[in-house]
């Protein structure tokens, strides 16, 4: 066997096939264990008491009545919460913890910074007793006037000037945008306003903390990032990483809100240590609006300059949004404008205002998703102004090289996506004029938008144990958000081992297993599939090494480089009659099993290694820009009298590199598109200005789309393997699924009505009437 070549699909292999979920049966029969479902002996239950004000101080907190309740074991407040070895309450502290997103831990002082901030944790022997006791904790406040958002009269908006957390939010300038704008034949300037969005996964945040010894804890947590949660908790608790185990076998959705470690997990872990029994804390749906972050409320202004033929000369993006009292966090919306179209002059800048709200966080395609609203709606407005077809203006500005760096693309199937999507949708029949297509009383509109998302750098490890009896165990700490990681990795392993899927068991979601990256930024499938593939290559190399030294093997004394794998056999390339099944080899060797490990890089790091490895002296290989691409087409029908908008047709065609399972991949694209339809038409968390508190914080008040809002959706993939991104050629599809979707809907509403609604969500009140909104 030679050194780890890139994956090649085998004949009759299952990679790419629409295989049903391997965990489907366990899920529908209730056997899949989610974080809150470990029935440990002596389990106790925690409930949170949260603040009713958004800013001020605790004057008093009286826990006597709660403590008198039967079954109550403890009530923790800022006065008696066990000490942490490291708190995140300073920026330095937060960075030391690494996986903590918010530079604040509740119950560490008497100050109130946001409404529904936890002020007490009650632990009791039953859930009912804990929740009742929490209601009996008496709190009095000294109240101060809060700031509700960047829009508030008392908000101070400022330029973070590189101080941003994760995204530095520096002003970026390429070319000479001001001069090119002034010289451009056509200009469009538009401001889009977005409310707070909440992720609202089906499964709420949930933790069971179990101290198995005074210095050793296992935490069952609903997290997208097992390894990061482990290291963060270890730092907070002052324990070696090895003494903290985080287990997440199943997740009921996350969308980014379960990427980082949040206070409730820490509070449950500290409480469990203090009461000496396992503690379970499950957030209520209401608490889900104030515990795991959100997509911040924001407005963004795009200025486009173009030539008369529609070719872009200038893109300027300015964003203003709300951040928390401690952190400067904002999605970097302007970034996508720097690579999406060939445009020589570009500028992006951010402004933020601190308000009495918890720190906002990553939500599906943070930056790219809202940024694509500005880009794709703005371009639609430009096309309308020039009388150009929206698809035509995109083709005229097609970027053959990355305009931000001048680099070639690792792969870009966007033109094919456009062509196929337009064909499936029937785009050529679209009227150029808006507001003229009718279906009875209803106005019909067609809109489209481009999608793109980076292949983010990531690295992860996997271990594969192949048994002589023809079964295999594959292990990494990765998580399955519900998107199909269990399934697609089992497919990859089965093909690479030459075994049926039923013989492969893939175990994930445990920090005791080899470290994989978090499920987030669309890196999981790419990195985990590659590391598993490489671990299996390692297995075959070890088997080859055994075979060529084994005098009874048909491959005895062969050069390892001359040995290849076919299904579950090692074969001599030059003389294929010389072959041996791995099981026979292992049995003869007296080995019950053999193990391999794989470390994979994805994105920039993978490419850098390839270039370094391939480079001959005197040659220089070009770096490449790595992105997923795609396009969404949308039809809406608008009732002009009632203001209602229904999405009636949807077509997505995506280029995500190699597609590991066409069924789970389709579900990802559908899910992202539905999330976009929600953000476009109905989702928004409203806040009372005076109290800085949400007024619709439950699933009756916060509308996510239901089945009747969604038409049959057509999804196709431009299936292509990208050799530059990782060993498997996977670019990722989870995030790109949502990018462009909000704009596709908004553009369709414009085409239906002739009215631009620039404030989201596009609810009936905004569609009605002739006022611009």
């Amino acid at each position: 066997m030679t050194d780890s070549p890139a994956f090649e699909p085998s004949k009759g292999g299952v990679v790419g096939q629409p295989v049903n979920r391997v965990d489907g049966h366990a899920k529908v029969t209730g056997q899949a264990q989610y974080a809150a479902e470990y029935l440990l002996p002596n389990l106790t239950y925690a409930a949170l008491k949260t603040s009713s004000i958004a800013k001020g101080r605790l004057k008093s907190i009286d826990t006597a009545a709660a403590l008198r309740e039967p079954g109550v074991l403890a009530v923790f407040t800022h006065e008696n919460l066990p000490k942490m070895a490291q708190t995140p309450n300073t920026l330095a502290g937060k960075y030391a913890i690494y996986g903590m997103h918010m530079a604040f831990m509740p119950l560490t002082g008497n100050e109130i910074f946001y409404s529904a901030q936890p002020v007490a944790v009650v632990v009791a022997d039953t859930f009912e007793r804990a929740t009742q006791a929490a209601a009996l904790v008496q709190v009095t406040y000294e109240e101060a006037r809060p700031v509700a958002s960047y829009q508030s009269a008392n908000a101070e908006v400022f330029d973070p000037n590189g101080q941003g957390y994760v995204f530095d939010l520096k002003k970026v300038v390429r070319g000479n945008p001001q001069a090119s704008l002034a010289a451009s034949a056509v200009q469009v300037k538009a401001t889009y306003v977005h409310p707070i969005n909440h992720h609202n996964p089906m499964e709420p945040g949930a933790t069971i903390a179990h101290w198995e010894a005074p210095d050793r804890v296992t935490v069952y947590d609903s997290t997208q990032a097992v390894a990061m949660a482990q290291s963060s908790l270890a730092t907070i608790l002052g324990l070696p990483q090895e003494q903290v185990r985080v287990v997440t076998k199943f997740i009921g959705g996350g969308f980014g809100c379960k990427f980082n470690l949040w206070p409730h997990t820490v509070l449950a872990t500290l409480a469990a240590k203090a009461v000496g029994r396992p503690v379970k804390l499950v957030l209520t749906r209401q608490q889900m609006f104030t515990s795991l972050g959100h997509r911040e409320d924001q407005e963004q202004t795009i200025t486009l300059g173009a030539r008369q033929d529609g070719k872009l000369t200038t893109l300027i993006h300015e964003k203003t949004s709300t951040t928390s009292p401690w952190d400067i966090f904002a999605e970097p919306n302007g970034a996508i404008l720097n690579w999406l179209y060939a445009c020589p002059n570009y500028q992006s800048s951010h402004r933020v205002a601190r308000a009495n709200v918890m720190t906002s966080t990553y939500m599906r395609a943070p930056g790219e998703s809202p940024g694509s609203v500005a880009m794709e709606c703005g371009l639609d407005e430009l096309a309308a102004k020039l009388g150009l077809d929206p698809l035509e203006i995109r083709l005229r500005n097609y970027a053959n090289l990355d305009p931000g760096t001048g680099q070639p693309w690792s792969s870009k199937g966007l033109k094919e996506c456009y062509a196929r999507g337009a064909e499936l949708f029937g785009w050529s029949k679209r009227s150029l004029e808006p507001g003229v297509t009718r279906d009875g009383r209803l106005l019909v509109g067609w809109g489209m938008a481009t999608a793109s998302y980076p292949v983010r750098p990531a690295q992860g490890r996997a271990r594969v144990r192949l048994y002589a009896d023809g079964h295999a165990l594959v292990q990494t700490s990765a998580t399955d958000l519900g998107t199909g990681t269990y399934t697609v990795i089992t497919q990859v392993a089965a093909d690479a081992l030459g075994l049926p899927m039923a013989n492969v068991r893939f175990e994930l979601g445990d920090s005791n297993l080899p470290t994989a990256p978090a499920s987030g930024s669309s890196v999981a499938a790419a990195t985990v599939s590659s590391s598993v593939y490489l671990a299996i290559q390692d297995v075959w190399q070890r088997l080859t090494a055994l075979a060529v030294r084994d005098s009874q093997s048909p491959l005895f004394k062969a050069l390892p480089a001359d040995v290849v794998r076919e299904q579950d056999q090692l074969v001599l390339k030059k003389n294929p009659s010389k072959r041996e099944k791995f099981s026979a080899l292992l049995q003869r060797q007296g080995l019950a099993d053999i193990e391999g490990v794989g470390n994979s890089k994805s994105g920039e790091g993978y490419e850098a290694d390839q270039i370094a490895f391939d480079n001959k002296p005197g040659t220089k290989q070009t770096k490449r820009s790595m992105y997923s691409f795609g396009v969404h087409f949308c039809e809406v029908k608008v009732d002009p009298d009632l203001g209602t908008v229904h999405v009636t047709r949807w077509v997505s065609v995506m280029d995500g590199g190699r597609i590991l399972n066409s069924k789970t991949a389709r579900s990802q694209i559908i899910g992202g598109s539905i999330m976009g339809i929600g953000a476009a038409l109905m989702e928004g968390t409203n806040r009372d200005e005076q109290y800085a508190r949400y007024t619709n914080a439950d699933l009756a008040g916060y509308h996510v789309p239901i089945n009747a809002d969604i038409p049959d959706m057509q999804v196709e993939f431009i299936d292509g393997h990208d050799p530059y991104v990782n060993a498997m050629g996977v670019k990722g599809i989870g995030e790109v699924a949502m990018v462009g979707t909000v704009a596709a809907v908004a553009n369709a509403v414009y085409h239906a009505t002739g009215k631009r609604v620039r404030s989201f969500p596009i609810v009936p009140s905004k569609v009605l009437g002739s006022d611009a909104v």
Partner: protein, 328 residues
Amino acid sequence: MNNFTYTPTNSAKEATRLRRETPAATYVAGATTLLDMMKVNLVEYPQLIDINALPLTGIEQTANGLRIGALERMSDVGEHRLVVAQYPAVSESLLLAASAQLRNMASIGGNLLQRTRCGYFRDAAFPCNKRVPGSGCPAQHGDNHGLAILGTSEACIAQTYPGDLSVALLAFDAVLTLENAKGKQRRVPITSFYVLPGQTPHQENILEPGELIVAVTIPAAEHARRSTYLKVRERTSYAYALASAAVGLDVQAGTIRSARVALGGVGTIPWRSPEAEKILTGAPATDETFRAAAAAALRGAQPREHNGYKVQLAQNTLVRALQNVATT
């Protein structure tokens, strides 16, 4: 949620007796609204008296009209052939409400007593005159996007009844049969069941302590046979109405002989419009008549900062409902 005693009962007599013994107790049927509110500590009851086993079911034709037992479930009533045939608006109002799961649980009597969805009422951290009399009404100058524009007061602008069924029942002159703790029954037209908020928004209806809704009777009428319920909302299902209209028309040779109009989503209580009915009655069934009726129905509207759109939306909803029923 507080600790409570749970007591199943199987007769109205026993239920009302229990309630008399513990005045702070409450009845529970489908529990679809009650448990939601208990879970977030909006209400506290020491005892829940389960009335599901009471013999308050049955959908039957009577001399006074169709009598529906208060413990019939929303889905059963909405799909019942007599309801569909004689009161299409009532059927539609039920089937457009809530979700399939909730409709299978929620009782007709309980539906009439559902509580407001105003965000300020639904969160005990806010002041709310309806929940805590005299504490204030931040909705007046706050997030009032979804709230009422008719029948409002300085104390409250919430829809006391945010749902659908009562709007249809109101249009077609339904009568509620109530039974008190002494086993005595009285009949109350739904038109006088709900109470405007005025300065006492915590008083929502004319039920006396311990009194049970045992049945709803809807009189037969041609305008009820030719009726519809139209609901406009921010998602296609499982959302409360921004505006809704229950209308019925008896049209003979192009002229409206009798008309019924009630609006939902816009009034602090389900909103019957005699003004609109007056314009419609005797007039030709034309768009012009419908628009005049809609304008009359909304004439007294008092929108706040974020719900001004409802004036137009409710008129358009009403016009569309009248058009739909006129062309059937």
